[in-house]
Symmetry: C2
Subunit: 329 residues, 2 copies
DNA sequence: TTGTAGGCGTTATCAC
DNA sequence: GTGATAACGCCTACAA
């Protein structure tokens, strides 16, 4: 791959002149410019961004750490981030944390070494403890997908989303409520509070299912459902789990949404295309990505403004046949 | 972010000494080493990989261009590649071509500018024409997921996979055959040949559906199925399309697999978890990723060996209830 | 064992 | 308008 210095030698000018030409600096003789440009084209010159980075102290690299790229929600997020970043001249280094905090820390070190200009983080865990290392980061960063106390974040309120689901399930007259996911998940916190506020006795009527394996979890759930003679409202922590849940319920011969109504999370194509369609909480991923880039670039430009900014977007409930028998599908 | 030079000043040694210490060069006074290491730790020194790259002519960056990260198959592939690359000390720059050759070319230029050490390509189109620019690349590259004439590729044979599907559908006594996808897709070529070899009159009994939009495609297909009084065997070009196809069929009140048997491609979690489960062609993604890294590293080390290597992995058919009424699920 | 000198490919700041 | 020169942070001689 040819360098400016070589181009300069070939074109018979000095290397800085080549630099000027290639960067469109007007103060250069048109004839010389033409000669250099021809030369560059002929040799397929490609600027060395590494060298430019070293000098300019800017890599035009952004990093994204996500827990699981193969989760369609994160995949779509990455896709949107890559698109928006690309528009602004940035490329994206992708790191899959596998929900493993250790890996997160490893990648944190690595992206610092690559001197990326910024970081998008979808944290593996949300506790303040594990986010501590990120606060010591000198690189601008931003949490996407969730609210984090004292970190810039672009998110939908998972509490409110949980509440929304609660409200919907109460609306359709579910009498028992099941949550497939972790107790400490904010979706659950909002779900529980929502139910309580609507007069549900959550100690009696709300059950959390989350065992070591998904199989275990679902078999417990199926057992619970079979002994039930009122309508159940089930809230799964994401669409992928909702899909298996749906599977399990139908396999057990339980009527959806008659006996069990199911709600998923993320409104990925999965929930849109199963049979019955799964009601799911929809996040505005495109807008989230756009705002994320915008805010990160701002943070990069302004330097580390000390005030934390939280941008809350609103989630919507995409209602489908898994909770409403007369839904479109 | 502190540099070696500053560390050197603080520790009262020369910068190369710091370099030696940090790189574990044994020929350095233990006391000095300790002093430097303490200093480095205290100031959270992180080596500047950009500078190291510039000097060493190696970035430890790999690029991956895929058509659509949000397709679960590619998402899983990326995840696997990232994992395997990480093990070998490489990070991955991700580019989404959106099935757009222009974008592919744009990214091709960009990744050259970043001086990545290698490239994984899942091409947007497979014709020799559009792959030409890649052949002029001085960076080692590798096609994943598909066979390409004179380019190193790690792949499963889509023809053979199509043939396998044909054989399975004939086995279960389908009498009409539908393909949801592009005619020029190798899956289709293999599918058609497979059918012919099994004595099917493909001009009469094989129909391709692929309109401008998926909706159109599926409504045409549904119309075709309704007028049919023999069993249909449907082959969809990937699991995502298979999912919508499944949806359409069941919505039209057509029995699966009784009247219509459905086969998808990629064996993603989608096909594993729908109701009925979708029979799908399974690719060994993990192995593909492992071999891909291995071969790329080899190519990087050996320099551009001129001989093209094709590594063909074998696909399997994961049979489910969408083609076999007594399948496990 | 350690320091000095040079180079990687840019960009920026000077003179001329 | 153009060419030296230095700088970015690191590594690798080479010299002491």
């Amino acid at each position: 791959m040819i360098t400016m210095t070589e181009l300069a030698r070939i074109a018979g000018v000095s290397q800085p002149t080549v630099s000027r030409v290639l960067n469109g600096n007007p103060s250069v003789n048109p004839d010389v410019a033409k000669r250099v440009l021809d030369c560059a084209k002929q040799h397929n010159y490609q600027p060395n961004l590494i060298a430019r980075s070293l000098n300019g102290n800017k890599t035009y690299l952004l990093a994204a750490i996500v827990p699981d790229i193969s989760n369609p929600y994160f995949a779509e997020l990455i896709k949107a981030l890559e698109r928006e970043a690309g528009k602004m001249g940035y490329s994206i280094l992708i790191f899959n944390s596998d929900y493993d905090h250790e890996k997160e820390l490893h990648y944190l070190k690595l992206l610092q070494q690559y001197r990326v200009d910024g970081l998008f983080l979808a944290p593996a865990c949300e506790d303040a403890q594990s986010l501590l290392p990120f606060h010591q980061l000198s690189i601008p960063w931003l949490v996407v997908t969730n609210y984090i106390e004292n970190a810039d974040s672009i998110y939908i309120s998972h509490e409110k989303a949980g509440q929304m689901v609660a409200s919907h399930l109460v609306d359709i007259k579910a009498k028992r409520f099941l949550f497939i996911g972790r107790r400490k998940d904010r979706k659950f916190i909002g779900f529980e509070r929502g139910l309580r506020e609507l007069g549900v006795d959550t100690r009696q009527c709300l059950t959390v299912f989350w065992e070591e394996t998904l199989e275990e979890t679902l078999s417990l759930m199926a057992g619970y459902l079979e002994d039930l003679n009122v309508r159940a409202g089930i809230f799964a922590t994401n669409d992928m789990d909702a899909l298996v849940t749906l599977h399990t319920i139908v396999n057990a011969g339980i009527d959806i949404p008659g006996k069990a109504a199911l709600v998923g999370f993320d409104n990925t194509f999965i929930s849109q295309r199963t049979l019955p369609g799964i009601t799911s909480v929809s996040q505005p991923i495109g807008e989230m990505a756009r705002l994320a880039i915008e805010h990160l670039l701002l943070k990069m430009k302004e330097g580390a403004g000390t005030d934390v900014s939280h941008v809350e977007l609103t989630a919507k409930l995409a209602v489908r046949a898994s909770t409403l028998s007369d839904a479109a599908f």
